[in-house]
């Protein structure tokens, strides 16, 4: 609220003492003239009083008072007339002075009225100022609440950001765990495949060996069968020879008895040979059946057709092994690609975790903002306290400029100092911390 004060009077009244002196001097001259006139009349009174005493109205007064009265009434106009040259000028002068006094009095009255108006306006201003002080004090109290409110809001924002970042970290960690488990499973699969391939390889080798043995056995058996026939034929021939020898020994009589014994032995030998041939044949047939059964088993295990011969079986087994080996290579390529992707994901995770440090930087910057708000609150509180006292002491209050300078000293990050310098401007050069490396090993 602004109040306009009236202008003071343009001129001031003359000094009142000088006017009073002129008045007294004029009165003195008048009195002196009256005394002179009274003396003159006092001389003429004796002849006038007897005339007046003839009238009853004056008889009651007596001669002496009447004489004095006549003298006074007769000589006043005379004295006035006699002294008029002296006091008329004084009266004129006095009149002018009174007029000036009157004018001065009016000016003084106007000035007093002006002062009164000023006083009234000043009183209103003081009242307004007091209201302002009261308002400021109340505002300062509200400022504390305001700062507290903003601080709490910042705390909330900080807490929210921390919660969010923590949740993101948890998610990334979970994803990484899942990825690690997946990689572990793939590694296990590779190991299993390697074991399977090795087992298949061993089985193939074994099968090949069995097939080869069977092949050789079959060949050998095939080669033995004619020999069995030979033995059987030899046995038959021997039996015939033994029968013939027995006949011939019988013909020879006594001389042929020993020959008959030999013939009998030959016959027995032939029988034994025949039995051996039969036994060999049975054994060979059994071996052939066993080999055939084994071969059937191999075919069944490898899924080969019943009609395939042994060479074809071996070729098929080789082909199967090659296919398994090829599949394993493909699987290892896929695994390698997955591992490479996982490595890349790990690097990205590392980067993401590095970027999350922003939250800590954000937290520290907000903490500084909160500190600034608290400082502002202190400043307003100090200002409010100062409003309650009449004496103003500038030194008792830390100015905002000083407080901002302290803020600058308290910064830890170059970005904070940079922002401060950009907003406030600083006469001093900023510390050259920005040129230092972010990573320094001592």
């Amino acid at each position: 609220m602004s109040i306009a004060l009236p202008a003071p009077p343009s001129s001031l009244p003359e000094e009142p003492l000088r006017s009073q002196f002129v008045l007294l001097r004029s009165l003195g001259v008048l009195v002196a003239m009256l005394l002179v006139g009274a003396g003159i009349v006092w001389g003429l009174a004796p002849s006038l009083v007897p005339v007046l005493l003839k009238y009853p109205i004056f008889q009651s007064l007596g001669a002496a008072p009447l004489t004095a009265l006549v003298a006074l009434l007769a000589f006043v106009p005379l004295a006035v007339l006699a002294t008029s040259p002296f006091w008329t000028a004084e009266l004129r002068d006095l009149s002018r002075k009174w007029m000036r006094q009157s004018q001065a009095l009016r000016l003084l009255t106007a000035k007093v009225a002006n002062h009164n108006e000023n006083l009234r306006l000043l009183t209103a201003k003081v009242a307004n100022h007091n209201e302002k002080k009261k308002f400021l004090a109340e505002e300062a109290l509200q400022m504390a609440l305001y700062v507290s409110l903003v601080n709490k809001q910042l705390d909330g924002a900080l807490s929210d950001s921390e919660t969010s970042v923590t949740a993101v970290i948890e998610c990334l960690t979970n994803v990484h765990e899942v990825s690690s488990k997946q990689t572990g499973r793939i590694d296990n699969s590779i190991t299993d495949c390697q074991h399977l391939t090795e087992a298949i390889h061993e089985q193939t080798v074994q099968n090949k060996r069995v097939v080869n043995i069977m092949n050789a056995m079959t060949t050998q058996i095939s080669e033995l069968i004619p020999l069995v026939d030979l033995i059987a034929r030899i046995s038959k021939q021997t039996t015939l020879i033994a029968i013939n020898a027995a006949i011939e020994s019988a013909r020879a009589g006594v001389a042929g008895l020993s020959f008959a014994v030999v013939a009998e032995e030959v016959k027995m030998l032939s029988k034994q040979a025949s039995l051996a041939a039969t036994s060999i044949e049975e054994t060979l047939l059994k071996a052939t059946r066993d080999a055939s059964a084994e071969l059937t088993t191999v075919k069944a295990n490898t899924g080969l057709q019943e009609t395939l011969n042994l060479d074809e079986i071996i070729t098929r087994l080789d082909s199967m092994e090659q296919r398994f080996t090829g599949t394993l290579s493909l699987l290892m390529e896929v695994t390698s690609a997955v591992k490479e992707a996982n490595e890349h994901a790990l690097q990205e995770f590392s980067k993401a975790f590095g970027h999350m440090q922003f939250q800590d930087i954000f937290r520290q910057r907000l903490a500084h903002v909160q500190s600034g708000l608290r400082d502002l609150d202190s400043h307003f509180t100090a200002l409010a306290a100062d409003q309650r006292v009449d004496h103003f002491d500038e030194k008792a209050i830390t100015s905002l400029k000083e407080r901002m300078a302290k803020h600058f000293e308290g910064y830890v990050m170059h970005s904070q100092r940079d922002t401060h310098a950009n907003v406030i401007g600083t006469e001093d050069a900023l510390p050259a911390s920005n040129s230092l490396p972010a990573i320094e090993l001592f």
């Binding site: 970027h355 440090q357 830890v412 230092l436 990573i439």
Partner: protein, 124 residues
């Protein structure tokens, strides 16, 4: 055998992000909320292969923690890295005098951090 890293930071975000990054790269991680807690862990027998500490923390700051840790038997030559927002040269010199092995200003990339650790911890 995996190497153990002690992280000293009052920020939960920093603890978690560093822990996750280091564990993904095969390290075992132990955490402490401030210098005092970390010092008590060392006194209680913790034997980390490397320490990463913040500088501005409640109860006991990073610089004081490094000074106290260096005075303990067996920790004179242990690599101790500071990971902080503090970028002033004077503070960095203070850390160096206290016995810090290196000074890292946040934010530091995850891969860069792992590279520095592998440089300081043999067999990591």
């Amino acid at each position: 055998m995996p190497k153990t890293i002690l992280i000293v930071d009052d920020s939960l975000t920093m603890q978690l992000s560093l822990k996750a990054n280091l564990e993904m790269n095969g390290f075992v991680v132990v955490t402490a909320n401030d210098g005092l807690q970390a010092l008590n862990k060392l006194k209680s027998g913790a034997k980390p292969d490397l320490i990463i500490t913040d500088v501005n923390m409640p109860n006991m700051g990073g610089i004081a923690f490094i000074q106290n840790a260096r005075a303990l038997p067996g920790f004179r030559f242990l690599p101790i890295l500071t990971l902080t927002t503090e970028s002033q040269a004077a503070k960095r010199d203070e850390g160096k005098r206290a016995g810090a092995t290196g000074w890292l200003v946040k934010p530091v990339g995850g891969a860069d951090l792992i590279a520095v650790i592998k440089k300081l911890v043999p067999g990591a």
